[in-house]
C-alpha cells in the first residue's frame, strides 16, 4: 500500500518548531513526510538550559531534547547547519544557503529570534558576544580559561543568568544596566534591590544607570566606555539587552510581518499553507519570548495540521523565574501597577521575602515574589483564570488560608487546586503530579520527572515538586532521597558502619542483611559496595569483577562505538625510544585507528577491538595505564630541575616515585597527581587531586583540585622539606580519602563537603599519618597487574572473544 503523504517543511530546528512536530507525530504519525532545516549545527536542544550549562552542573550533551536517532526513527529528514535563504510561495519550495531545495505542501516558520546587539562603535571586536546559543556558551567557557574580566550589558533575566554563569566560570563579572535598578521589566524597585543585594553577596558587581557608548580595544575588546565619560575594563562583553523576532526570511518572501510574522489564532500567516510559531511569530500584537506560550502555540498548530478540530490560540499570560542558584524570583502578569490597579505588598527584610499582588477591580492581574516563590503557581493560575479574589486578598498575600496562618507550607500545597500548573515549561498540573505519586507509585523527584515531565526543563518548579512529594508520599519519599541508590534507603556512612559492625564480607551478604529492595542491586550500588568492602578488608575481600564498572571490567576505556582504548603506563610521562618503538609497532600491527597523546602525558591507542585487547597487552608487555578506572591515573610532571632553568627540584623523579608508589590503587573516584618543579607550575598541579609544587628548599602539597566539569583549584595542605615527607603525606591523604569519601566522589567534592580543616586535623599528627600510610601499603600489597593476569589466564581471556557456533542443528 502506498500512502500519500503531504510534504511538511519546518524552518528552524528550535524549541517551538520541534515541539509542534512532536505533537503532530502523536496526533497523526503518518500524515506527513517531514523535512526540518536548522541553521545551528545541532539537533534540537533545550535553550533554556544553556544557563544551567554555564552555571555548571549540566553538560552540553545533556540538554539535547531529541537526538539524531529520534529524527531518523521518525523518518524526518534533518538538515542541520542549513539556513533557509528563500521561500518560493508560488511554487511552494524553500532553498537553503547550501543549495538544498525542498518542496512543501505546508510550511512552518519557527525561526526564533536574534539577540539584539547594541549598535555601539567597536561592537564587532573579538570578545563581544550575545547569549543565545550553544556557540555563545562555548565561547564564554573558552574565554574564561584565559581571561578574567567580563561585562554583561543588560540587567534583565538573561543578563543576570549569563553573569551568574560567568561567575561560576571564575570570571570577575559586572552587570551594566541602563535603568537604575535591575530586572525592571519583571520586578519593582523593592524586589530588585533585594535581588541585587543577594547577587552581590555571590560576587556579582553592578554598574547601574549606565549608558554604554563605545567598545574600545585593538582587535579584542579592552574596555567599555559610558556616556558619562567613565569606563570599565573588559576582556569579554556579553550583550543581553533584548531579542528581535527573526523575520528577515519571511519579509523577503512576501509574508506579512509586523514586529513578528503576523499570525491568526490558528498560527496561519497571510499566505495559505504557511504558518509561524515561536518567538518569530506575532499573535494579537504580541511576540512572546518564553517557552510556555510557544508550546501552547505548537499544540494548536499540530492539531490544525493533523486535521483535528480544536480551539484556536488565544494568547498567554506569562510568568517568569530567575534560574540563578540561591535566589528565588518570580513574576507574573502585570506587575507594574497599571492605571486603575492597586498593589498589596508584604516585605520581610529579615528573612529576605518580598511579595506584591497587583489587583484590578477584584481580580488579580499580576504578582511579584522574591525570596519565597512557593505561591507562584497558585497566583499565576488565579491571574490566568481571572476569577474574583475579593475577600481572599489577605490570605493570598500572606500565602496562607486565613484560618491556617500558622500551618505548614505543605498545607498551602494541599489547599492548591488540582488543575493549577506546577511546571510551566511542560504544563504539568498539581493533580497530575499528585496522581503520579499516589497511584503511579513515584517516590522521588526523578521518578516524577520521568513519569510526568514536571521539572524536566528549566527545573524552576523543583521545590514545589519536592513539596508535593513530601505531602503525598510522606516517609517513603524522604527515605529514598537518603539512600546511595534506589535499592536501599541507607546512606554511605550507615552502610560502611554496618559492614564493619557485622563484618560483612561479600556484596551479596550486604544486600541480604541490609535488605536491598532489588535483590541484585544496580549499577550504582554494586560498584560502591565492591569498593567499600575492598577498602575495609583489603586482605580478605575477593574483588567481585562483575560488580565493577565496564572500564574496570574490561581494563580498557569503552568508547562510544563499542571499541576500547589502551593507554600504556608511562611513569611520570618519561619514556624511552625502545618503549616508543614497541608502542608504534603494536599500533601498526593491530591497525589501531588513532594514536593520541592524552592530557596526562600518555599515548592513547584508540579504536581497539575488544578481541584484540589481550593480544595488544601481550605484545606491549607494559602495564596499561588505568587511564579510565576509579584509581590512580597519571602523575603529570614538568621537566623540573633536570633541564628547566627555573626548576628548583627534580619534579620528574618525584613524579615517577609517586606513580610507582600508588600504581593500581583503588580509590572512590579517579585520582590524578602532578608535580611541578617550581611555582610556575607547568604541570598544572593546582587542579589535581594531589598536587606537588616545588619551592626553594621544599615542596608545597596541594589537595582537592579538579580540572573537570567543575573546575576547582586546590587548597594548600602543607609545606614539607623532603621527598620522603611528600610520599608520607600523599599516602596519608589518599588513604584518608579512601576511607572517608563516598564512592564516585572526587577529592574536590569531598574536600568541600568535609572541609579542609577536618582533613588537616586528621593528618596533623605524625603517628596518624604513619598509620594511614601503613594501611594504604597493605591495600597496595594485594593488587596485581590485571593485564598480565588476563593475558595468562584462558578463563579470563575468553570474555574478550566472540563465541563461534559449533554446528547447525
Amino acid at each position: 500500500m502506498t500512502l500519500f503523504r503531504k510534504k511538511l517543511v519546518l524552518v528552524g530546528n528550535g524549541m517551538a518548531g520541534v515541539r509542534a512536530i512532536e505533537h503532530l507525530l502523536k496526533l497523526a504519525p503518518d500524515a506527513y513526510e517531514i523535512t526540518i532545516f536548522g541553521a545551528e549545527p545541532h539537533p534540537n536542544y533545550n535553550r533554556i538550559m544553556l544557563s544551567s550549562v554555564l552555571a555548571g552542573g549540566t553538560d552540553l550533551s545533556e540538554i539535547v531534547i531529541n537526538d539524531y536517532e529520534w529524527y531518523r526513527s521518525h523518518n524526518i529528514t534533518l538538515y542541520t547547519g542549513h539556513q533557509i535563504e528563500s521561500i518560493d510561495t508560488v511554487n511552494k519550495k524553500v532553498r537553503s544557503d547550501l543549495g538544498v531545495e525542498a518542496a512543501y505542501d505546508e510550511l512552518i516558520l519557527a525561526t526564533g529570534s536574534d539577540p539584539f546587539m547594541l549598535p555601539l562603535p567597536g561592537a564587532d571586536k573579538e570578545g563581544v558576544i550575545a547569549f543565545r546559543d550553544i556557540k555563545d556558551c562555548q565561547i564564554m567557557m573558552e574565554t574564561s580559561k584565559t581571561y578574567k574580566k567580563a561585562l554583561v550589558i543588560g540587567g534583565g533575566l538573561l543578563g543576570l543568568e549569563a553573569a551568574r554563569g560567568l561567575l561560576h566560570l571564575g570570571m570577575e563579572v559586572s552587570v551594566v544596566h541602563i535603568h537604575h535598578y535591575i530586572m525592571e521589566r519583571q520586578l519593582d524597585m523593592e524586589a530588585a534591590v533585594m535581588l541585587q543585594r543577594e547577587l552581590e553577596a555571590q560576587g556579582m558587581k553592578f554598574l547601574l544607570s549606565k549608558q554604554s557608548e563605545a567598545i574600545l580595544g585593538k582587535k579584542r575588546v579592552k574596555s567599555l566606555l559610558f556616556a558619562d565619560g567613565s569606563s570599565a575594563e573588559a576582556d569579554l562583553i556579553v550583550m543581553a539587552v533584548g531579542i528581535r523576532p527573526n523575520t528577515a526570511l519571511a519579509k523577503k518572501s512576501g509574508i506579512a510581518v509586523n514586529r513578528g510574522i503576523v499570525v491568526n489564532d490558528y498560527m496561519e500567516t497571510n499566505i495559505p499553507g504557511v504558518y509561524a510559531i515561536g518567538e518569530c511569530a506575532e499573535h494579537r500584537g504580541i511576540a512572546y519570548g518564553l517557552v510556555a506560550p510557544l508550546y501552547e502555540q505548537g499544540a494548536v498548530l499540530a492539531k490544525r495540521l493533523a486535521g483535528v478540530q480544536g480551539q484556536g490560540y488565544e494568547g498567554s499570560v506569562t510568568s517568569t523565574k530567575l534560574k540563578v542558584s540561591g535566589v528565588d524570583v518570580f513574576s507574573a502578569g502585570q506587575y507594574d501597577e497599571p492605571a486603575g490597579s492597586r498593589a498589596l505588598r508584604y516585605q520581610d527584610e529579615i528573612s529576605g521575602v518580598y511579595k506584591k499582588l497587583v489587583i484590578s477591580e477584584d481580580k488579580l492581574i499580576g504578582a511579584v515574589l522574591f525570596g519565597d516563590t512557593a505561591d507562584g503557581a497558585q497566583l499565576f493560575s488565579l491571574i490566568k483564570s481571572s476569577e474574583s479574589i475579593q475577600g481572599k486578598e489577605r490570605s493570598l498575600l500572606l500565602g496562607l488560608p486565613d484560618d491556617a496562618l500558622k500551618s505548614s507550607p505543605s498545607a498551602r500545597l494541599e489547599a492548591m487546586a488540582d488543575d493549577e500548573i506546577i511546571c510551566g515549561c511542560n504544563g504539568v498540573s498539581k493533580g497530575a503530579i499528585a496522581e503520579a505519586i499516589t497511584t503511579g507509585g513515584c517516590t522521588s523527584v526523578g521518578q516524577i520527572k520521568a513519569c510526568t515531565k514536571a521539572s524536566a526543563s528549566c527545573g524552576g518548579c523543583k521545590p514545589l515538586v519536592e513539596g508535593l512529594l513530601e505531602l503525598y508520599a510522606g516517609d517513603a519519599a524522604v527515605k529514598v532521597k537518603e539512600g546511595i541508590c534506589g535499592c536501599t534507603t541507607l546512606g554511605r556512612d550507615e552502610i560502611v558502619a554496618e559492614i564493619k559492625r557485622m563484618k560483612l564480607k561479600t556484596v551479596k551478604e550486604v544486600m541480604n542483611v541490609l535488605e536491598w529492595t532489588n535483590e541484585e542491586g544496580c549499577s550504582k550500588c554494586r560498584p560502591s559496595l565492591n569498593y567499600y568492602l575492598g577498602m575495609l578488608w583489603p586482605e580478605e575481600y575477593v574483588d567481585e569483577k562483575e560488580s565493577r564498572i565496564t572500564n574496570e571490567r574490561y581494563h580498557a576505556n569503552i568508547q562510544k562505538d563499542g571499541t576500547f582504548s589502551v593507554v600504556p603506563r608511562i611513569y611520570g610521562g618519561v619514556t624511552s625510544p625502545g618503549e616508543l618503538k614497541k608502542i608504534a609497532e603494536v599500533a601498526e600491527k593491530f591497525d589501531v585507528p588513532m594514536v593520541k597523546f592524552t592530557g596526562g602525558q600518555r599515548l592513547d591507542l584508540l579504536g581497539v577491538k575488544k578481541e584484540d585487547l589481550p593480544k595488544i597487552w601481550e605484545e606491549l608487555d607494559m602495564p596499561s595505564g588505568h587511564a579510565y578506572g576509579k584509581t590512580l591515573r597519571t602523575v603529570k610532571t614538568c621537566v623540573g630541575s633536570t633541564f628547566c632553568r627555573f626548576g628548583t627540584q627534580d619534579s620528574i623523579g618525584m613524579g615517577i616515585r609517586l606513580e610507582k608508589e600508588f600504581e593500581r590503587l583503588n580509590t572512590p573516584a579517579k585520582v590524578k597527581l602532578a608535580v611541578s618543579g617550581c611555582p610556575r607550575n607547568c604541570a598544572e598541579a593546582t587542579i589535581k587531586d594531589f598536587g606537588v609544587v616545588a619551592i626553594d628548599g621544599g615542596w608545597e602539597l596541594h589537595v582537592g583540585g579538579n580540572g573537570g566539569v567543575h573546575v576547582r583549584a586546590t587548597d594548600l595542605l602543607c609545606v614539607v622539606k623532603t621527598e620522603d615527607e611528600v610520599v608520607e603525606w600523599a599516602s596519608a591523604f589518599l588513604q584518608y580519602y579512601r576511607e572517608n569519601a563516598s564512592w564516585n566522589e572526587r577529592t574536590s567534592n569531598w574536600v568541600e563537603r568535609v572541609g579542609l580543616d577536618s582533613i588537616k586535623a586528621a593528618l596533623d599528627n605524625r603517628e596518624d599519618r604513619l598509620a594511614l600510610g601503613q594501611r594504604i601499603r597493605t591495600a597496595l600489597s594485594v593488587t596485581t597487574d590485571p593485564w598480565k593476569q588476563i593475558v595468562a589466564e584462558r578463563e579470563l581471556r575468553k570474555n574478550f572473544e566472540p563465541i563461534s557456533p559449533i554446528e547447525t542443528a
Partner: protein, 103 residues
C-alpha cells in the same frame, strides 16, 4: 529461523556475557546468577551501546554507555527511558549444558 549449537553454559560467566555474530548481526548472550541464559541483539536502542559490556543485575543489563536498563527477558527498556531490543530464543540442555540459539 535456524537453531544452532553455540557452545556450553560454562563458556559464559555468571552475571557475565559473550557475543556472537550471526548474519552480520551481533548478539549478546547473558548468563544470569540463577544460571538462565538469555540473548538479545548487542545494541542499545539509545545510541547503540554494546550491551554485552554492561553490568548484569538480576535479569536486567545496564548499558555501559549511558546506563539505560534493559530487561533481558522482554528486551524492553525500563522507565524512564523507552525502546526495545530484539530478543532471541535460547535453550540450554539441562544435562550437557549445551546452549542452542534460535535466530
Amino acid at each position: 529461523m535456524t537453531k544452532m549449537h553455540i557452545g556450553n553454559v560454562a563458556d559464559i560467566d555468571r552475571k557475565g556475557s559473550r557475543t556472537l555474530k550471526v548474519n552480520g548481526m551481533e548478539i549478546a548472550l547473558f548468563r544470569l546468577s540463577d544460571g538462565e541464559v538469555l540473548a538479545v541483539e548487542n545494541k542499545c536502542p539509545h545510541k547503540g551501546g554494546t550491551l554485552s559490556e554492561g553490568m548484569v543485575c538480576g535479569s536486567k543489563v545496564h548499558c555501559p554507555l549511558h546506563d539505560w536498563r534493559i530487561d533481558l527477558h522482554t528486551g524492553k527498556v525500563e522507565d524512564p527511558d523507552t525502546g526495545c531490543v530484539p530478543t532471541f530464543e535460547v535453550e540450554v540442555d539441562p544435562v550437557t549444558g549445551a546452549v542452542y540459539l534460535t535466530v
